[in-house]
């Protein structure tokens, strides 16, 4: 087991299922989900709206206890919130703490560290998202895109082994979204972070991911797994115009619409 954890994947999801007990009966959000993420990978999970992507993410983060199946991180099962994991949520305005300055928001998860260490890590993280001057401001004094940068900086300052992102760019305008996508790619290259990103945007999943997991409608299962061979250096204009990109996004779109022949696409891994 110890050998495996070294060589094997960082995150392993096996046969995961979760059922919500609602007022009008049970509702399966996800079912029989299985995949893995290797160290240093950026994996995008794409699926139709309301298919249970958020549930999947919250289960991995230990915020929701799954009804069935297992999640393991570094080879040991997740039971409660793992220590070296950070989450960036879609709704930055509600995930940043309005009563803390930007600096203090970024320092929030660094409780155990010495004061100076906290400050320097926060400064470093803020610099890496291009907000070195905003530390003393409050979240509500920043634009939406800048607030989401703060949320990303906070996750980075925590130096997680695994960074989970729940539709992180869904609430910002298109221009900002491109900037933040490139920011994520750069930071991830520099810091070699492992990222699992959930999105409903096909283009985004292909543009960002090393691999794309396509989920079905609720209850979500993995329909297909595509490797994205676009290289490490990507560009909003040329990459998106490239033939591979166009071809991949068409395949993902086809899979999402449930076009039958796409099911036979061999899992490229």
């Amino acid at each position: 087991m110890t050998d495996l954890s070294k060589a094997g994947p960082m995150l392993e999801v096996t046969d995961l299922g979760h059922t919500y007990q609602g007022k009008d009966g049970a509702h399966d959000a996800i079912d029989a989900l299985g995949f893995s993420v290797g160290a240093g990978e950026l994996v995008c999970v794409v699926g139709p709206s309301g298919c249970g992507k958020s549930t999947l993410l919250r289960t991995i983060a230990g915020l929701v206890r799954p009804s069935r199946g297992a999640v393991s991180l570094h080879g040991s099962p997740v039971d409660g919130v793992p220590a070296d994991l950070a989450v960036v949520f879609q709704d930055y305005s509600r995930s940043l703490f309005p009563w803390l300055s930007v600096q203090r928001n970024v320092e929030f998860p660094l409780r155990g560290l010495a004061r100076a260490e906290r400050a320097s890590r926060a400064a470093e993280a803020l610099a890496s998202v291009g907000l070195d001057k905003a530390g003393r401001k409050y979240p509500w004094q920043l634009s939406g895109g800048m607030q989401q940068r703060v949320a990303i900086a906070r996750a980075l300052a925590y130096r997680p082994a695994l960074l989970l992102m729940d539709e992180p760019f869904a609430s910002v305008d298109a221009q900002t979204r491109f900037e933040l996508e490139d920011l994520l790619l750069r930071v991830r290259r520099e810091q070699d972070t492992t990222v699992l990103l959930v999105t409903h945007d096909i283009d985004e999943s292909v543009y960002l991911g090393d691999r794309v997991l396509v989920l079905s409608k609720s209850p979500a299962t993995v329909v297909a797994e595509l490797t994205v061979d676009l290289g490490a250096e990507r560009d909003q204009i040329t990459t998106r115009a490239s033939e591979e990109f166009v071809e991949l996004r068409a395949r993902v779109a086809g899979l999402l619409q449930g076009v039958p022949q796409q099911r036979s696409v061999p899992v490229e891994h």
Partner: protein
Amino acid sequence: MRRGPRFTAGLVGLVGLFLVWEAASRTGLVPEYYLRPPSVVLPTLVRLLGDVGFLRAVIATVLATLIAVALSVLIAVPAGLLLGSVSWVRRAMMTVVEFLRPIPAVALIPLALLTFGTGPDTKIVLATFAGLWPVLFNTMYALDELDPLHVQTARAFGVGRLGVLTRVALPSAAPFVLTGVRLTFAMSLAVVVSVELFSGGTIGLGQLVLEASAGASQMDVVLAGTVLAGVIGYAANAGLEKLNDRLFGWNARGGER
């Protein structure tokens, strides 16, 4: 914004209030014997403020109020956090709370005087009883309104249950608590004054005013005491509002909630 003109207008309004009062008194609209005009009352107030006995009474009242407010906060905030975050405790305690809350603290005055005597303890105990509720309920409801995403964010960073309570729940409840404190101060002051009014043996502003009103002999003192109590209440409210703006500017201008 236009703080200057607004401020002036407000001042004009306050002066106007005193002018109307003066006029009502001078024209005999309200018998002058009872409603002494401010031109008499304000000099009386100034004279009283130089009087040691009067000042001692005022200090006794204010001090008892402040102690009661502090005790209310110390009891009600932890209690509110507990009731607001553990549902079975809430269910278990709410019946007792709902039974106690509607009892007006002033109704307990005769009983408390018999039991605790006429010392300051009586005032403080009753004012604390009255002052608990606004802070308790505001803390509880603030926890109901707590944003689940804030909690999830903290938990995702490995913050435990107690940490969520102190680092997320408490700061987001703080503005509500302070609003509660404003009400609590007004309530506590009212109850302290009531005890002093009812019991001749309790030193304080209320007792002074009641004594002066006996036989309507010193109505200027009655009105001076009443105006001063109003000033104290006004100052406390304005001070707490200012504190709120300073501490919780994020709440007012955030505008998201």
